[in-house]
Symmetry: C2
Subunit: 293 residues, 2 copies
């Protein structure tokens, strides 16, 4: 570890890691897996060395297609005979400027649950690609085939399917960057406010390897949208802060819907944007409830 | 009737009548009443005389606030001791250029089910205001109080309420013009088409007393929208035809979502735009399913 720190440039980036199964509870028909409401996502400051510096120093052949990681964790069941998670990304993502071997989070050593002493950080891609307790990285001349790379894990149908379909394994494609998404982080849902004061609302928005170009909110279920203030990204693959001051026209029950648009003009849907068998990639608009009295 | 035809200018307008309870099946919690999917709406050519010509000839005082109609129908139960529906509109709507006493639909006498021999036509307002089998119209100095004007009929909460709320009668407001809405009328939902040919899609869009300024469709659950071709309105309070030619990027399951925007920039939501106790005014986007093979 000290050799790693000493041999390569140490860099820091704020990078977004997000669970690909966020919002799974909104699937109809329902699907198995953690049923998260607002989802597991974070964007701390990671410090480490660039994965590409280490890979280049080790030598990467022209035939390289994918990297795959192995960690020192056991299978979740604790059974040592079962494989633990071992995923990866295409070599192109691995060689990006901000793909890290990180030893620090928010200025201190990685907490154990976050992968101490070393982990991969691949911002904007499913969190499962950012392997923890890192032991080894293989550069491969084919798509990595570790545990949770095969079958239906972290895959969606290559073509859209009707809700509830059985999909053949050969027709499933690996999820790469995560789609545009945003959250309202303040105030909490259910807040009560008074008509005589504007309500300050704020949150984060992010979009895989891209960034956010516009942020809108609606207080009338999407019949009209107003533009929110949006901060510039502090680096790539980071979430951006947004905020807005809302003046309600009258008392009553409201929902505040938040909608981000990325650089390619792709925007969040108000509904689940396509059912898939394992419940991934639900980036539908987040909303909170407000009572104005 | 012949006297009416002979004494006043005979005029024809294509006018939209729509049931205020369309889309009630999408309410959560569910509400009682007909559970319609795509809804009861039509826009035939009505011929008659202007209500305002008749009212003016009869004399309308400055104190006039509302009109109320009475028809020759019995209560739906057939019980002659029960009042039949008797609704109305503010005098301002009654005096509009295209508010009609109609005796003809699409060039022939009104069919009996459509109110033969004479009915009110108040385009863009809830169909229940366009009284059939018309016997009498009262000009009133207060809001009309006939059957289905009181209680919870054709009313929504004056202020937004949480889904499932009990709302006091005094907090309910009468529905006036209907909100912006559109339908996909061709092809039928469930159609199968081939990747090598563009799909022609068409429908109608309307917006109470206003008109439609823009029409969009989405084939990716609202993540991107494309502008559809929109015809100009042939008169006020009429639906407008729209059409689009869709080129699908690959095979698979798609939903085509249609979204109209009215002259005031109010647009259709992708979700129910506000729960209310009787299930009115669901103008959420219509969608159809398409399989591309």
């Amino acid at each position: 570890m000290e050799q790693l720190k000493g041999s390569f440039e140490n860099v820091s980036y704020q990078l977004t890691l997000e669970c690909a199964g966020n919002g799974r509870e909104e699937f109809m028909p329902s699907v198995r897996g953690s049923q998260r409401i607002t989802g597991a996502v974070g964007c701390p400051m990671w410090t480490g060395v660039r994965l590409r510096d280490v890979l280049m120093a080790s030598g990467v052949r022209q035939s390289a297609v994918y990297i795959g990681y192995y960690g020192s964790d056991t299978h979740l069941s604790g059974d040592p005979s079962r494989e633990s998670i071992s995923r990866g990304v295409p070599i192109k993502k691995a060689l990006k400027e901000d793909s890290l071997l990180a030893f620090s989070m928010n200025g201190t050593d990685l907490p154990f649950l976050h992968g101490y002493p070393l982990r991969l950080i691949l911002g904007g891609w499913p969190g499962s690609t950012s392997g923890k307790w890192l032991k080894r990285i293989f550069v491969r001349n084919d798509v990595h085939n570790g545990h949770k790379m095969n079958g239906y894990s972290y895959k969606v149908p290559c073509e859209g399917v009707p809700p509830g379909s059985d999909v053949a394994e050969k027709d499933m494609c690996i999820i790469e960057e995560m789609p545009v998404k945003s959250l309202v982080t303040f105030p909490r849902s259910g807040v009560i406010c008074t008509l005589d004061r504007d309500l300050e609302v704020r949150g984060h928005a992010w979009a895989g390897d891209s960034s956010i170009s516009k942020m809108h909110i609606s207080t009338d279920f999407g019949q009209t949208w107003i533009r929110a203030k949006l901060d510039s990204p502090v680096n790539i693959n980071v979430w951006q802060h947004w905020s807005s001051s809302i003046s309600f026209p009258q008392k009553g029950y409201y929902e505040i819907w938040a909608r981000a648009t990325d650089k390619s003009s792709k925007t969040q849907s108000m509904v689940l944007p396509g059912w898939n068998p394992r419940g991934y990639l639900n980036n539908a608009c987040h909303r909170i409830v407000v009572s104005v009295v």
